[in-house]
């Protein structure tokens, strides 16, 4: 039997014990989430619970935007209308030509017994908010797994690739923008078809083409598009333009900085793309896949 002080001032479990318990629990959650990705069901549950509150709290901002739009003058609206009409008139012939080229391409591919290009399903989405997290740049969009959005889907705007869906909730999804440090995308230089992988750059708001030999044929001003080798991005979508190339005799790789084409930051409407059929065979086993990704992509 234990003789302790009488419970006159009993305050329950001591603060230190509570601290130890909760910080251990939090550290455990962090480690599991960072290393194993096993907590997605809990996260989705919390996300669904939080969803009505989040949507309700977007209302004041949306109301402000709507009010300011309502107050927009007729002159600015008619100007915008004029501009849009001009844009669409400029694009219509290109679109018609595109249709014709597409059928021609399909026919040629069939003649050569090549596989047909997989179709792309698109979905117009709206950016709900940018999370305040200052360690990663993400966007939250208003479509989720119930609308068919899957993790890995590319997200583009009218100018180029914006990012990739990295986490899907039932009603919303998180998009990690292209310029994030650990985000990578297989690309191709339009001028000569040189394939490379673009990673988020060290400077904010830039991309970097890594693993390009120091004597690679890249120069500033080159357009960079997706190569479609990963089976996630459709080929030929603009990624950016090469801003500058630094060749250092000490390094065996060139340092290629790319300015992204897609509006990363201020965009309201985006398009989520989804390849209708996976164009690639299932990935090879672990031992075969242990090669560096850049080398693998140039081989294929």
């Amino acid at each position: 039997m234990e003789y302790g002080p009488p419970p006159l001032f009993n305050q329950g479990v001591s603060a230190r014990a509570r601290l130890a318990f909760f910080s251990f629990l939090a550290a455990l959650l962090i480690m599991i989430d960072a290393r194993v990705n096993a907590l997605d069901t809990i996260r989705i549950g919390v996300g669904v619970m939080l969803y009505p509150l989040q949507r309700a709290l977007l209302w004041p901002r949306d109301a402000l935007i709507r009010a300011s739009r309502y107050a927009a003058t007729v002159a600015s609206l008619s100007q915008e209308n004029e501009q849009l009409r001009k844009d669409s008139a400029e694009r219509t012939p290109l679109l018609l030509q595109d249709e014709q080229l597409r059928t021609e391409n399909d026919r040629l591919r069939r003649l050569q017994n090549l596989r047909e290009r997989t179709g792309v399903k698109t979905q117009l989405v709206q950016v709900l908010y940018e999370p305040r997290d200052r360690f990663s740049h993400k966007l939250v969009i208003n479509r989720g797994s119930t609308d068919g959005v899957r993790a890995g889907n590319p997200v583009v705007d009218e100018r180029g690739v914006v990012g990739q869906v990295t986490r899907v909730f039932p009603f919303v999804s998180e998009v990690t923008v292209l310029t994030e440090r650990d985000q990578s995308i297989p690309t191709q230089i339009v001028r000569n078809g040189l394939r490379c992988v673009a990673f988020g750059g060290a400077e904010a708001g830039t991309l970097e083409l890594r693993f390009l030999a120091a004597n690679a044929d890249v120069s500033s001003g080159d357009a960079v598009v997706t190569s479609g080798l990963d089976g996630l991005y459709p080929p030929g979508i603009p990624v950016g333009t090469v801003a500058r190339v630094e060749r250092d005799v000490k390094d065996q790789f060139a340092r290629v900085i790319v300015t992204p084409a897609g509006g990363i930051g201020a965009n309201g409407l985006l398009v989520v793309m989804q390849l209708t059929a996976p164009p690639l065979p299932p990935p090879p086993r672990e031992d075969a896949a242990s090669e560096r990704p850049a080398r693998r992509s140039t081989k294929r």
């Binding site: 509570r18 909760f22 959650l29 962090i30 907590l39 989040q54 709290l57 709900l128 650990d182």
Partner: protein, 193 residues
């Protein structure tokens, strides 16, 4: 304030001698009891303020952290580390951060506030905000350290420091607002406390 020395039993001092006491603290009112509904409403309200679409504006403080520190200092037996932990998980999901990152930060914040609450309450409001500043800074540094461990460095780490500073500057306002329902409506000088 004056205290009157009690008349001695043998009555050799016929008149009471006034004795002045220098005051080290401003006068304090005894507050009325707090309503739990108000505590949880304000915590939910500060969560809502954090969930507003602020985007990446750097000057917005973490309202939820402020409210948690406030109630941990004022009512450490009602709002504890468990509440801080759960609110942290909600913020983690909303921000798309690592699951448990804000939970850990708020737990430490809450522990600091609970252990220091008797000392902090001794100070006037401006002195209190000097105590609140390092608490908020520690919470920011913890989440920065977690992200560094997970491998995402950011050039914007100093934003956390600014947010903590603004949070500490807001402390008098927070105190004034959140203690308002506990103050007595009429200032009565004849009350002893």
């Amino acid at each position: 304030m004056r205290f009157w020395r009690l008349r001695r039993a043998n009555g050799d001092s016929a008149t009471a001698v006034p004795l002045t006491v220098t005051r080290t603290q401003p006068p304090k009112q005894v507050l009325r009891p707090v309503s739990p509904v108000f505590i949880w409403t304000t915590l939910a309200g500060s969560l809502a303020l954090d969930l507003l679409p602020w985007g990446r504006t750097p000057l917005v403080p973490d309202f939820l952290a402020l409210a948690l520190v406030f109630w941990n200092i004022q009512q450490p037996r009602r709002v504890g580390m468990g509440a801080a932990f759960l609110f942290g998980l909600l913020i983690d999901v909303h921000d798309g951060a690592l699951f448990g990152e804000h939970a850990l930060a708020y737990t430490l914040l809450s522990y600091g506030a609970i252990t220091l609450h008797r000392r902090i309450l001794w100070f006037p409001v401006l002195g209190q905000s000097l105590y609140v500043l390092p608490l908020l800074l520690i919470a920011q540094l913890v989440s920065a350290a977690v992200r560094l461990w997970a491998g995402s460095a950011s050039a914007d780490w100093w934003i956390g420091l600014i947010q903590s500073g603004i949070g500490a500057l807001l402390w008098p306002v927070v105190t004034w607002l959140l203690l308002a329902p506990q103050r007595r409506p009429m200032r009565d000088e004849t009350r002893p406390l």
